[in-house]
């Protein structure tokens, strides 16, 4: 079946001739710039998508001010009509763009995610770790190197200390690697106060030890080697304790839940509540965003257009122009002013009357349509799944042409359900989230894991968390933290801040978890006694 067909943008959107010029040009620029980032020579024009798309993609991220659209699949043309066969029509959908423009755009956006800033903490951590590792070794080795003849012989106790130093250094090394030497998972607007404090403390400690070593041991060339080794051991101990402090400040303090935050998405009101520990505002924002990507269903701007139309209608209904000048006495003016406003109120009331009626029937109709399409889809998928079966032992003798691997099986099964699936996704306005490739991939996954048709369909019946879809939907580098309090200050009861993404906001309010007082009551197990209450009736 010919599922890949190209079509010109103009033929699929017959009703929207006004904005074609601007939007398609932007879209072409966007889609082509994404590909051009891969190969600076070729410019691939991908045809724009179906009418319900509302926003262009720019190098995998939406352009500011426009909601998210569908995705280009590299060299394959993103094609929402893969369920229907359409004839290919070439023509006016191709536009040319200058190379420099395109290249410039690509470079600018890439810097935001892959900068050196991501590895800065790693670099600082390694430097400090190296310093901490080498200092005790230097303390132990320098006397042996600089004045070996005058040094006292190292007895058994002293050599025992060497063992202790080596193991402690090993443990410290592993601990520092586990806690600090990781590429950071996010870039926050300001430096973490605790990290800065700990690094300062470590450097201070190391400096003071070096100072002491230089003044009291190196200068007078002390012969007591045992004492010097003990000094080095004490430094390693102090470093281990600083590491313990780091664990408590950076990790443990964040784990115990202390505050309950309420996160509300501004566009559709999705609300979630989370319990988090004592964090700074920026760290809390980071944690909340990680939960956002896991819990909140995908933001779908296509679903909001209906309420926007209604809002526009309300505004339109309230526009009344007062032509009469308010001249004359106040007594005369008042009824004069009263009449237009009353007329305005009744006019808007009339329109409101029909507005809620409209909404009711529209929603009922939408529900019906969705349920109808859903029923057809479920039946189509179940039927499609009956055609394919895992190969068993006895089927080995079947003709080789019937035996296929999972990818071929998916491709063979897909066409029978493609049309129903596409219609359903169109009705629920989610067709831009799923490309043909991704559907086939998911189908192959379900076939390998012996999933039922219902399990396969679950992904498409309801919008999943944002992480489920490709990286082009994440917008992970578009977040802005808007806060009245300083972002490195800690969370407090009643703090509020805003996390702004391109076209929606997450409003966060913080409440502290209540102080719970639990009292006990002892019940003697022997105190459970019961009475039997009868009401019998006897005939005499």
């Amino acid at each position: 079946m010919d599922t890949e067909s190209t079509h010109s943008g103009y033929s699929s959107r017959s009703g929207r001739s006004n904005r074609h010029g601007d939007r398609s040009r932007e879209r072409h620029k966007a889609s082509s710039s994404k590909d051009s980032s891969r190969s600076e020579r070729s410019v691939i024009i991908n045809p724009p998508d179906t009418p319900s798309q509302e926003s262009p993609v720019h190098n995998g991220e939406p352009l500011p001010g426009e909601p998210t659209p569908s995705v280009d699949q590299g060299d394959d043309a993103q094609d929402d009509n893969w369920g229907e066969t359409t004839t290919a029509v070439t023509g006016t959908s191709e536009l040319s763009i200058s190379q420099e423009e395109v290249v410039g755009l690509g470079k600018e956006v890439q810097d935001r995610t892959q900068g050196f800033r991501r590895y800065l903490p790693l670099a600082v951590g390694s430097v400090v770790g190296l310093l901490m590792l080498l200092t005790p070794l230097a303390f132990v080795l320098l006397p042996a190197v600089l004045w070996p003849d005058r040094l006292e012989a190292c007895g058994a106790a002293c050599e025992g200390l060497f063992l202790s130093i080596s193991f402690k250094l090993l443990i410290l090394l592993v601990a520092v690697w586990a806690l600090f030497l990781r590429p950071s998972r996010a870039r926050l607007p300001r430096v973490c106060v605790y990290r800065a404090f700990l690094i300062t403390l470590t450097l201070l400690l190391t400096m003071s030890y070096w100072l002491f070593f230089g003044v009291r041991i190196l200068d007078p060339q002390d012969e007591d080697y045992h004492g010097i080794v003990q000094f080095a051991v004490s430094l390693v101990d102090s470093q281990l304790f600083i590491h313990y402090l780091a664990v408590v400040l950076l990790e443990l303090r964040h784990i115990k839940p202390c505050y309950s935050v309420c996160v509300i998405r501004s566009t559709d009101g999705e609300t979630r509540h989370y319990n988090i520990g004592q964090l700074s505002i920026q760290k809390a924002a980071l944690t909340i965003l990680e939960y956002y990507y896991r819990d909140f269903p995908l933001h779908n701007p296509a679903l909001l257009s209906a309420s926007k139309h209604r809002a526009a209608k309300h505004l339109a209904g309230l526009k009344v122009y007062n032509v009469d000048a308010t001249a004359g006495s106040t007594a005369g003016a008042q009824p004069g002013n009263g009449n237009p406003s009353r007329a305005m109120v009744t006019a808007s009331a009339k329109r409101k009357d029909s507005a809620h009626n409209e909404l009711y029937y529209e929603e009922a109709d939408y529900e019906r349509r969705v349920r109808k399409r859903r029923a057809r889809l479920v039946v189509a998928v179940e039927e499609a799944f009956t055609h394919v079966r895992r190969m068993k032992k006895e089927d080995e003798r079947a003709t080789p042409s019937d035996i296929m691997d999972v990818r071929e099986a998916a491709l063979a099964v897909f066409p029978s359900m493609a049309r129903a699936l596409q219609k359903y996704l169109r009705t629920t306005r989610r067709q831009h989230c799923h490309s043909m490739e991704s559907i086939q991939k998911h189908l192959a996954f379900c076939l390998i894991n012996n999933m039922s048709p219902k399990a396969f369909l679950e992904t498409y019946l309801s919008p999943g968390p944002t992480l489920q879809y490709g990286p082009e939907r994440w917008m992970a580098d578009q977040w802005t933290l808007v806060s009245e309090a300083s972002v490195t200050s800690g969370l407090k009861d009643g703090s509020e801040f805003l996390l702004r993404c391109l076209d929606f906001n997450l409003a966060v309010t913080v409440k502290s978890i209540p102080y719970i007082r639990v009292t006990e009551e002892f019940i003697d197990p022997k105190s459970h006694k019961f009475l039997l209450l009868l009401q019998s009736e006897t005939s005499v």
Partner: protein, 139 residues
Amino acid sequence: MSQNFVPGQPVSVVTQRIEIQKLQHGDHLILGFSIGGGIDQDPSQNPFSEDKADKGIYVTRISAGGPADVAGLRMGDKIMQVNGWDMTMMTHDQARKRLTKKKENVVRLLVTRKSLEDAVKHSMCSYPKQIQAKPGFKD
């Protein structure tokens, strides 16, 4: 039953005397009604009592055309005495035994019901000068 029933305290009610002849049914004598209640029973489940703490013996069912029905016993009557024996402080089983004594052919019951009280009140209201009501039996 117009007063609240307090166990152990004397009670004054309007009663009716009913005499029932036992009927031979097979090899035992029957009276043709069922009783419920008793001091060992749960008084709150009694549908006929006004005061749900009343643990007296009540008539819960009357078989139509039986001796009790013929004698004038009605469902919901509280049995105060049986052949002179007080029934207000009896267990259910003791009450049953009192009513089903094989040697007696006749039982004379003293029963009370709400309609008796109402009838007396009604007559008192119509003739306000009469202070004393129609004679009631006290025990």
